[in-house]
C-alpha cells in the first residue's frame, strides 16, 4: 500500500505513564500495570469515565496482564472497544490508533506490562513471588523442534553471520550498547543510571553465547507503561502538546522464525521502513530522533541498516556516527539514537520505552536530555518475525 494510512494524522498521543522500572519493584505485575495506566490517564488530564477503549499486550513470550484485569482494577465503566495484542509491543498502540481513527472509541488506553519472572531471570527462580503463571497459549508452534534452545542463542547466531557476511565486529555492536549507556546517564529512571560503560568494558564482559555478551541483552525488570490515544482534534483541549501520529505500520515477515531461519530481523525491518517512507513521503534525514528497538543489540543493528542505510552498511554508518569521547551515536552526523538508553540501558520495556521517549522529546519535556527543536521521531519495534514502525510528529 503506497498511500498514507487514511486517518493517521487525525490521531494523537496525549498521555503516557510508567511504573516500576526496577529489578525488584516490590509490587505485583498487576499493580504496576494499574499504576502505569492510572498515571497515563492523569497525565492526559482525563477522568476515568472518559476512557472508552482499552488494549494491552499479553500475548508475547511471557505471561502479562489481560485488559479485563485493568478494566476491573481501575473501575473503568464505559469500555466499548477492546483490542488484544501480541508482540511486538507497539502493536497494541496501533490497535488503539486504528480504533480512534475509525471512531470505535474516543479515548483509548493502551498498555504493556513486563515482569522479572522466574523464566526470565536466574535470580528470580527461587523467589516464591516471581513464579510465572502458565502461558495462555504457546506463540511458537515451532517449539516442538527446539531440542536445542533458545531465542537468545539464535540472535547470537544471526550476529555471527552478520560479522561474517559484512565484516562487522563486536566493537560495532558495542557502539550500540555504549550509546544506550551514555544516554542512560541523563535518564534517572534508567536501570543503568550512574553506571556508564566503555567499549573496552563491553569487549571484556562475559559471553552468554559467543559472540553475544551480557551487555548485548536487555535487562529483565519489573515495568509497566501506558499510552493514551485520542483524535488530534480532541487532543487540542487536553493538558499536553499533542504528539501526532504521522503514520504507522505493523508487519509479519515470511521466512523468519529466527530459530530455524537465523538471519535476524532485517528483511522485516526493511519492509516496514520502505512502507513508512513511502506512505509519509519522508526520508531518513527528516528524522530528528531515532527510537530503535534494541532488545538485543544485533536487532538494533538490523533496524539501523533498514532505516538509515542498507544491508551490511551498518558497521560503516556506526563508525561515522560514534563519538569515542562521549560514547554517543549521531546518525548522519545529527540524529541521536535511543536518547533514554533503550531496552539495553533503561530496561526491558520491550520497545514501549522507545515510544514514551519519543513522546517526551516531541513534547519538549525531556529534562536534562531534550533534543533542541525535536519535531519528527522514528519509533521501531520488533523481536522476531513481527516488526512495526511509526513516525511521530510534534504539533
Amino acid at each position: 500500500m503506497n498511500r498514507p494510512t487514511r486517518f493517521a494524522r487525525d490521531v494523537a498521543i496525549v498521555g503516557i505513564g510508567v511504573a516500576g522500572l526496577a529489578r525488584d519493584s516490590g509490587k505485583s505485575l498487576g499493580a504496576l500495570a494499574l499504576s502505569a495506566c492510572a498515571d497515563a490517564i492523569k497525565d492526559a488530564g482525563l477522568r476515568k469515565d472518559q476512557i472508552d477503549g482499552v488494549s494491552g499486550v499479553y500475548g508475547t513470550d511471557h505471561a502479562s496482564v489481560c485488559p479485563g484485569y485493568v478494566v476491573n482494577g481501575l473501575g473503568l465503566k464505559n469500555i466499548g472497544w477492546s483490542g488484544s495484542a501480541g508482540a511486538p509491543s507497539m502493536a497494541t498502540l496501533m490497535d488503539g490508533i486504528a480504533a480512534i481513527g475509525s471512531g470505535m472509541c474516543d479515548y483509548a488506553l493502551t498498555y504493556h506490562a513486563k515482569y522479572r519472572w522466574d523464566v526470565t531471570s536466574n535470580a528470580a527462580r527461587n523467589d516464591p513471588l516471581r513464579q510465572s503463571p502458565p502461558m495462555i497459549s504457546d506463540p511458537m508452534l515451532n517449539s516442538p523442534l527446539w531440542a536445542y534452545l533458545p531465542g537468545t542463542n539464535a540472535v547470537a547466531a544471526s550476529m555471527r553471520r552478520h560479522m561474517h557476511d559484512y565484516g562487522s565486529t563486536r566493537e560495532h555492536f558495542g557502539m550500540i550498547v555504549v550509546n544506550g549507556r551514555a544516554n542512560a546517564q541523563r535518564n534517572p529512571r534508567a536501570i543503568y543510571y550512574g553506571q556508564p560503560l566503555t567499549i573496552d568494558q563491553y569487549l571484556a564482559s562475559p559471553f552468554v553465547h559467543d559472540p553475544f555478551c551480557l551487555f548485548d541483552m536487555d535487562m529483565p525488570i519489573d515495568a509497566a507503561s501506558a499510552v493514551i490515544i485520542t483524535t488530534a482534534e480532541r487532543a487540542r483541549d487536553l493538558r499536553h502538546r499533542p504528539v501526532i501520529v504521522e503514520d504507522f505500520t505493523c508487519g509479519v515477515m515470511a521466512d523468519c522464525d529466527l530459530t530455524f531461519q537465523p538471519w535476524g530481523i532485517y528483511p522485516g525491518a526493511r519492509y516496514i521502513m520502505d512502507t513508512l517512507w513511502r506512505r509519509t513521503g519522508l526520508c531518513p534525514n527528516d528524522v530528528d530522533l531515532a527510537s530503535l528497538y534494541d532488545g538485543y543489540s544485533p536487532l538494533c543493528m538490523d533496524w539501523i541498516e533498514a532505516a538509515f542505510c542498507d544491508r551490511g552498511e551498518g558497521a560503516g554508518l556506526l563508525e561515522d556516527a560514534f563519538n569515542t569521547e562521549t560514547g554517543e551515536l549521531k546518525l548522519l552526523g545529527r540524529i541521536p539514537v535511543n536518547t533514554h538508553g533503550g531496552n539495553l540501558s533503561e530496561g526491558r520495556l520491550q520497545g514501549m520505552g522507545q515510544v514514551l521517549e519519543a513522546v517526551t522529546q516531541l513534547r519538549g519535556e525531556a529534562a536534562g536530555r531534550q533534543i533542541s527543536n525535536a519535531r519528527c521521531a522514528l519509533v521501531t519495534n520488533a523481536g522476531g518475525p513481527i516488526s512495526s514502525g511509526m513516525i511521530l510528529q510534534s504539533s
Partner: protein, 124 residues
C-alpha cells in the same frame, strides 16, 4: 519436547536416527520446520524424505559451560536444500569451527530419542 501431527514424522525419524524432512509433493519445496501446507504452492500433499547428512555451518554460537569447555550450537544448512536449517550441538567441541565448514550429521541421545549433532567433515 512436544510431538504433534506435523512433527511426528520428524521425531519418528529421530527415534531411528534418520533425518526426515517434510517436502511438498507438488512443487518439491523442502519445508522445515514441517508444516501441513506448502508455503509456496499451498499443496496439502506433504511427503517426508530422509536426507543425507551433508551440511555446512550457516552460523554457530559458543556458550560457556562450568567445565570450561563451551557448548557449541550449530545452525547447519543442507547442501542442495538451502532453506533447511537444523540445529545441533557440535561434537566433539575441541578444535575450531568456522562459517561454511563442512559437517556430517550424527546422533546423540536425548530423553527417550535421539537428536542431531554435527561433526566436522574433513574437506575432500
Amino acid at each position: 519436547m512436544r510431538v504433534d501431527y506435523d512433527t511426528q514424522a520428524y521425531w519418528k525419524g529421530c527415534d531411528e536416527r534418520k533425518l526426515i524432512i517434510a517436502r511438498c509433493g507438488h512443487c518439491a519445496r523442502w519445508i522445515h520446520p514441517p508444516k501441513a501446507i506448502c508455503p509456496v504452492c499451498w499443496s496439502a500433499v506433504i511427503n517426508y524424505e530422509e536426507v543425507s547428512g551433508e551440511a555446512r555451518v550457516y552460523s554457530f554460537t559458543e556458550t560457556p559451560q562450568k567445565n570450561g569447555q563451551p557448548a557449541v550450537t550449530i545452525w547447519a544448512q543442507f547442501e542442495g536444500r538451502e532453506n533447511v536449517i537444523i540445529l545441533g550441538a557440535l561434537e566433539p567441541v575441541l578444535g575450531t569451527i568456522a562459517i561454511n565448514d563442512p559437517l556430517t550429521l550424527d546422533w546423540a541421545p536425548l530423553e527417550d530419542t535421539w537428536v542431531p549433532v554435527f561433526r566436522k567433515r574433513v574437506r575432500s
